[in-house]
Amino acid sequence: MTSTSISTHPPATAQNGAPEFAAESVSLGYGGRDIVKDLSFEIPAGRVTAIIGPNGCGKSTLLRGFSRMLRPRTGRIRLGERDVARFGSREFARTVGLLPQHPVAPDGITVADLVSRGRYPYRGMFSRSSRDDDAAVAWALEATHTVELTQTPVAELSGGQRQRVWVAMALAQETEVLLLDEPTTYLDLAHQVDLLDLLVRLNRSRGTTMVLVLHELNLAARCADHLVAMKDGRIACSGDPREVLTRENLSAVFGLDASVLDSELAAGPVVVPSPRRDEA
């Protein structure tokens, strides 16, 4: 209860009922091609949801739909009772935060400056940073353990530090929902675990709804309350990680021959690809 430093700042937005995000028969795509096809599902509010699936299955496209980067061709995406298209851009940005796949920092920007960019939706046209803005930035830096880096140029950070800084920027946005597209790519295993644990802690302490696109199945099982497996633009299966990560599902969704161990060590399912068969 008192152990985390995370719960110190945010009094205003810590709420018990984050709005529920849902796709209702949504099709999304580029050019003439639908990548996500007639898909419906609800993201459990206040939980950590991980979307998994093979390359090109439409995970990122779906996330772009939820973040309004991409307008659905058919169907609608709603947040609470409202169609996301009805939100004003600032209002939406105060409710839903997005960390895209490979963000690139502007030249020469420092960590403090980058993180404070997350306050954009709270600022007026000409108004300066308020005390609220500063407090949110300070809290975000603290929560991501990047306080020591505040004056460092982002270009000089290591991959793990950089990713934490991007998360800090998204946190400074103080949204009830956070969408993260493969936040752990290019990180080594220790840093992947570190980052995902950070996100889970934030979820537990603030009730922030987290939606992550992840490649690494064992890490997805480790951090997610709810797993969604996609294939060919549709949802193949979803639910508790134990229900989703089964030998049959892995074979059907990924074409992967693997065993699933229920490990006490990992406190959850662990996917182990079958031993390689050396053909003579």
């Binding site: 008192t2 152990s3 430093s5 580029y30 973040s67 309004r68 980067m69 851009s89 600032r90 209002e91 939406f92 940005a93 105060r94 839903v96 935060g97 997005l98 960390l99 895209p100 963000p103 690139v104 920092a105 502007p106 030249d107 020469g108 920007i109 420092t110 403090a112 400056d113 980058l114 404070s116 960019r117 997350g118 954009y120 939706p121 046209m125 940073s129 005390r131 500063d134 407090a135 930035v137 300070a138 809290w139 830096l141 603290e142 353990h145 306080v147 020591e148 505040t150 004056q151 140029p153 270009a155 946005q173």
Partner: protein, 355 residues
């Protein structure tokens, strides 16, 4: 429950710390901008007072006050019709080019995306040359031709490079490079179709020259800057906000489309009117942004870039008039000669920093 009471001191941060950091990070840019403004005034002073015909400061003040200098009746004419217009037009053109280049570089997140590289300036020249050669245009007509050329170029480049996914900045630069070559070829074609006298006038304009500086041009460019620069200032926060990338910016609620098109329109306008007034003075738009960034310590600064542009053009013009005894080079020759090594130095310095 360990660590319940004490969190490590270094890991905590208060709102006051952030406010202090912010104040500190603003200090250097402010000082640099103030220093650059002074440098621009000093450069104009040097251009007006020194050189092949020197004027003392008291004489200059009394000329400005409407008096003639006893014993040097020509001084008034030289100052008011030659030295001062050169300096002022150079400063204005430099401000416009520097600001335009920095907007493009910020918006497209690419230091190569300046109007002199991606064909905006050469298309403005083409428009100007067409207006000059076929319609006998000058002044406002030439500016209109330049603006039309630059606007067509911007629409073509954007039409071909926006949309789809991936790095729009790189596509933009590649398309722009192609367009620059095309515009240069068409300009040469036009030059070959007109009389030798027209062509020699046009050639001087095309190198970028303050030789035609007069108060009419200054008025036109001055009015344009008085309208466009406040708009740039109003858009500047959004321009900086978009520099985190269009996806992320949209996620923050930045009006990405409006900012992009507004920024492009302003940058094209600034470049086109500067080109119409002086011809395409090379490398200024390209160099001003990176130089200003180094001076303020890393981050983009539109004000700084504009001021650097002004200082560079005025000083280059001063050098152009005094490098060769008895002769006078077009200012564009000097900015080219000085600008190219600066570019190489910037690239080398950036490489060294990265490694």
């Amino acid at each position: 429950m360990p660590a319940a009471v004490t969190t490590p001191a270094a890991a905590t941060m208060a709102a006051g710390d952030v406010a202090r950091l912010r104040a500190r990070s603003r200090r250097r840019p402010r000082l640099v901008v103030a220093a650059l403004a002074l440098a621009l005034v000093a450069a104009v002073g040097v251009r007006v007072l020194l050189g092949t015909y020197t004027v003392t400061l008291p004489d200059f003040v009394s000329i400005l006050g409407g008096h003639s200098i006893p014993g040097a009746s020509g001084a008034r004419f030289i100052v008011l019709q030659d030295k001062l217009p050169h300096a002022v037009l150079g400063a204005l053109a430099g401000l416009a080019l520097g600001c335009s280049g920095a907007i493009f570089q910020l918006l497209l997140r690419n230091p190569l995306a300046s109007p002199d590289i991606i064909g905006i300036n050469s298309s403005a020249s083409l428009g100007g040359i067409v207006a000059l050669a076929f319609f006998g245009a000058s002044g406002l007509g030439l500016a209109a031709g330049g603006l039309a050329g630059a606007a067509v170029a911007a629409v073509v480049i954007f039409g071909l490079s926006v949309g789809g996914r991936g790095s729009a900045g790189n596509r933009f630069v590649l398309v722009g490079l192609g367009l620059a070559v095309l515009a240069a070829a068409l300009t040469n074609y036009v030059l070959s179709r007109i009389s030798i006298y027209q062509a020699s006038d046009a050639a001087i304009w095309l190198t970028g020259s303050l030789g035609q500086a007069n108060w009419g041009r200054i008025q036109l460019l001055g009015v344009v800057l008085a309208v466009l620069l406040p708009l740039v200032a109003a858009l500047s926060r959004n321009l900086h906000a978009v520099s985190v990338g269009e996806d992320l910016a949209a996620g923050l609620g930045v009006p990405v489309g409006a900012t992009r098109w507004g920024g492009i329109a302003l940058a094209v306008g600034l470049a086109a009117f500067a080109v119409a007034a002086t011809g395409p003075i090379t490398f200024v738009a390209f160099v001003a942004g990176p130089v200003a960034r180094r001076l303020v310590g890393g981050t983009h600064t539109l004000t700084g870039a504009a001021l650097v542009g002004g200082v560079v053009v005025v000083l280059a013009d001063f050098a152009a008039g005094n490098l060769i005894p008895g002769g006078r080079l077009p200012v564009g020759v000097v900015t080219g000669i000085v600008g190219a090594p600066v570019l190489l130095w910037l690239v080398a310095a950036a490489q060294r920093e990265r490694s």
